[in-house]
Symmetry: C2
Subunit: 222 residues, 2 copies
């Protein structure tokens, strides 16, 4: 039996939008290395978010994304001109939503649909506007408000400051295993959108539901 | 000119001891995958330390190491029996020191030589005893005392609780870029033992010295 859910909360990067839609732009700048650089960039970006949080040296997501790109290009023994950097960063502001996202948002509309992301408010507003998704969401929450990144508990608590719900009345969706673990540890119901077919994390918290993409959420239509 | 240093502080895993000395044991259990599994295991171990710290779900280093191994093996679509797991974990308690370590410890003896590690006290004592290094160290500090992993500031502060020194009178050595960044952010002098020839991290903190292995520390002999 499905629990009563008062708010459906979406992660953004990797969940609604494909972070690897920068692959073609990476390939254009670094022929033969597009896939590798895109994947290493994303991994480094996440590592840098974690490290800045741990070191108590918060900086906004766009700066961290840029710093991760710089490291990644150097790690691949390539050079990055200011112009190339600017072009790749702009590409990051134009990520493509996954194909099924709009159908799922339509099916769930009428519920409280919330975004909770490590991205800045500006980055989120721009991405969601470009995709014409603005009208579906009741709230767009950025951790930048408290300058603490997911998966720290305070970041997930932003949802509870926004809606009148108990943690277990929130269904949180993310493709990122670490994000799903953090959300479950905080007390949310979780649906892991396991786009890459990875094994479950071994951190003592199991997602309540696993779907291979967001299409699984269509069964929550009521 | 070298600053006056009151304490020389060593990281352990990857710095004094080779975490990839488990490669042969991994290869024996998973033929053809030894290098890949050893490397992925180490990366996952570090990610899990960070995640547990961020989620405020500290568990000791040996448990995290075991959980990271379980994920890594599943990620490589292999199975891990209880016996195999036990054998690999035991291997982790028998890591090999890098060749130059003993000469460096000898050259620096007479100074305060301290260990600061994410490992548990038991794991550290056993590793150091096996290598016959016990007599070189004035203190062996484990973050397990405060249950907060490096690179959080409180972990580096354990050194200042142990020695009478200002942060800039401590020289901290690690092969891990994230550890060197955290130590520099805290205020230590840092020597990055860049064993893998990686680029500098792009996190706004630059190591004071870079050596390709600990042999560079021989010039601190006085």
């Amino acid at each position: 039996m499905k629990p009563a859910i008062k708010a459906f909360v979406f992660d953004v990067y990797g969940t609604l939008f494909d972070v690897h839609s920068v692959t073609a732009a990476c390939e254009k700048q670094f022929p033969g290395l597009g896939v590798q650089i895109s994947q290493a960039w994303r991994k480094k970006q996440i590592e840098y978010l974690f490290l800045r949080q741990l070191m108590e040296r918060y900086r906004p997501f766009d700066q961290v994304t840029r710093e991760a790109l710089r490291f990644t290009v150097k790690e691949h023994q390539e050079n990055l001109s200011d112009l190339q950097e600017q072009q790749l960063i702009e590409e990051y502001h134009r990520l493509t939503p996954f194909n099924e996202v709009e159908d799922v948002l339509k099916a769930l509309s009428g519920n409280q649909l919330i975004i909770l992301s490590n991205g800045t408010s500006d980055m989120l507003a721009s991405l969601i506007k470009r995709a014409n998704f603005t009208s579906y969401f009741t709230s767009i929450l950025s951790v930048d408000k408290i300058k603490q990144y997911k998966p720290v508990p305070a970041s997930y608590n932003l949802v509870l400051e926004d809606v009148d719900a108990a943690p277990e009345e929130v269904l949180f969706m993310s493709s990122n295993g670490w994000d799903i673990t953090g959300a479950k540890s905080f007390g949310f119901q979780t649906a892991w959108i396991n786009r890459s077919g990875l094994p479950k994390e071994e951190l003592g918290f199991t997602p309540d539901i696993i779907y291979s993409d967001l299409t699984g959420m269509l069964e929550w239509n009521n």
